[in-house]
Amino acid sequence: MTRPVRRTATGLLGLALVAAVAVAVAPVGAAPTRASSKTLTGTFKLTPGSYSHGKARGTWFRMIISRDRPKKAYLPNPDSKAADRTYTLGRPGVDGGLATGRFQPHPDPPFDGKGNARANRIIKPSPFTAINFGVATLKQDPQSKTTVAAPSARVDGRKLTVLLPGYTAEWNKQFFNQGAPKPDGSGSPASGTYDAKTRRFVLTWTSKIAGGPFNGYSGLWHLQGTFSPR
């Protein structure tokens, strides 16, 4: 009688241990699944950013410097091509845009001698106050050293949700995690709309900068274009 009980207890203990280990090693940012949603694996090809009639379109970035104050203020980028220089317009990189299901790391070394970022897969490096910034999706966040999952996307009806915890802005020999959610799981995923027929998408997210010279500021990202499945 005691043996089966002991076996059961040992079995349960083993199961609990396996479950605990599985939870512990699961990378941050693994996509939640829903029966009605569909995974999008491929590349979100980017439309170049543009600005006209007081409105930015396509791919752009802004840096929010007002922290948690209700009235938003943005850091102007003198090198911006937009009339409103708080918008930095993006152009697609050599991969055409943001890939899901894989990382798009920076080259080695990530910067040239002047601190210009060399990461050019997602967007082309573009000047931000005279020094080029680039973006990459990295397996290990250089700031927190956390290992994260590759970007993943799901669409539920027209609602697009993208998890990209390793999304990193690179500038002046410094790394700024711009993940959604952050590598520690805080914050929200990137969200937007997706038209299954035309494959056109709009994706936005805000990610707070933790550490470094822009600590407390937030990046506001707007990616737009057409999804290209793998």
């Binding site: 003198p78 090198d79 002047k114 106050t129 005279a130 020999k173 410094q174 010279p213």
Partner: protein, 337 residues
């Protein structure tokens, strides 16, 4: 015979109390880092010291001062000579210049207070570079808790061993005396009486610098300077070109503007990591600030060291120098006395 027994009993009692006192002091010493949360705070101090190391050299600090001078010279020249060259002389002409280049006008307007504040900040940091280096020359902050825990536990354990095995006390006693002496000498060996007060002065000087508000102000300065320099580089100099000046003429007539534009990337390379280091270490600074004041630290070694060494030295064993003399007294002699 009676007084010999009494003397022996009294000596044993005194030794017992010495051992208890030693154990208490040892445990107190070992517990001090826990009480002061040194295991959390001291590594943060080490982190801060390490983060500031690249910026605290004379060359780097002089470089920062040069950056400020370069920006100041460029702003002044653009506001005067360049403005006059593009729009003519007089208040009305300058107003036109300001309207034409609002990003630079705002920068020029804000620059005076920024210059004064940043110069003051850099002067403070530079004045404390020696103090910083004195603290940096101390053993790593990470080790500090162990400087209390290890001798403290050793003393407590040896005192316990002395109580449990009185025969071992003569040897143990000298070990404890040596530990006490080590504690007294450690601050001397590490020049803590000189370096710790310097660390205290550095911590006081950085009190107004290592705050979240100050860092945010510096971040704001960066935005203002970046926008203003951008206007100079991307609007004003191209306007000079359009006015018919070539690069050589601009360099000859407006050398400070050209120098600022040429040196802008090195300035960014240098200044933004410093703002980053300041920002990243606000919490670390406050963690160390919560520790007891730096100048007290040598005394945290000396006082327990003297107590431990003194108690162990005074706690002579029964079979020690006094005891044989007492033992030599036979009962009859004792009785005769």
């Amino acid at each position: 015979m009676g007084w010999i027994e009494a003397a022996r009993s009294s000596a044993a009692g005194a030794r017992r109390w010495s051992l208890v006192a030693l154990a208490v002091i040892g445990l107190g010493l070992a517990a001090a880092p826990v009480i002061f949360q040194m295991f959390d705070r001291a590594p943060r101090g080490a982190e801060m010291m390490q983060a500031f190391t690249p910026f605290m050299t004379d060359a780097r600090l002089n470089g920062f001062q040069r950056h400020i001078r370069d920006i100041d010279a460029g702003v002044r020249e653009a506001d005067r000579a360049v403005a006059a060259s593009l729009e003519g002389r007089g208040a009305a002409a300058h107003t036109r210049f300001d309207r034409r280049f609002p990003g630079f006008a705002q920068f020029q307007h804000d620059w005076g207070p920024i210059d004064a504040d940043m110069t003051n900040l850099l002067d403070t940091i530079q004045a404390n570079a020696g103090n910083y280096r004195a603290v940096a020359a101390l053993p790593s902050f990470r080790l500090f808790p162990w400087f209390f825990v290890v001798p403290g536990l050793l003393v407590a354990l040896l005192a316990l061993a002395g109580a449990l095995a009185p025969a071992s006390w003569p040897a143990l006693r000298w070990t404890i005396v040596a530990i006490g002496l080590g504690l007294v000498l450690a601050p001397v060996a590490f020049q803590m009486f000189d370096r710790a007060p310097k660390g205290g002065r550095m911590m006081t000087a950085f009190e107004t610098i290592e705050t979240r508000a100050k860092v945010e102000q510096m971040q704001g300065y960066f935005a203002t300077i970046a926008v203003g320099q951008g206007s100079l580089r991307l609007e004003i100099v191209p306007a000079l070109h359009r006015a018919g000046l070539d690069g050589r003429q601009i360099a000859a007539r407006f050398p400070d503007v050209v120098t600022l534009n040429r040196r802008w990337v090195p300035i960014l390379n240098d200044m933004t990591p410093m703002i980053g280091a300041m920002s990243d270490n606000v919490d670390n600074y406050h963690a160390i600030k919560s520790l007891p004041a730096f100048p007290l630290f040598p005394w945290f070694f000396v006082v327990p060291g003297v107590l431990i060494g003194g108690l162990a030295f005074a706690s002579r064993p029964r079979g020690g120098r006094t005891a044989p003399a007492a033992a030599a007294l036979t009962p009859s002699q004792g009785g005769a006395l």
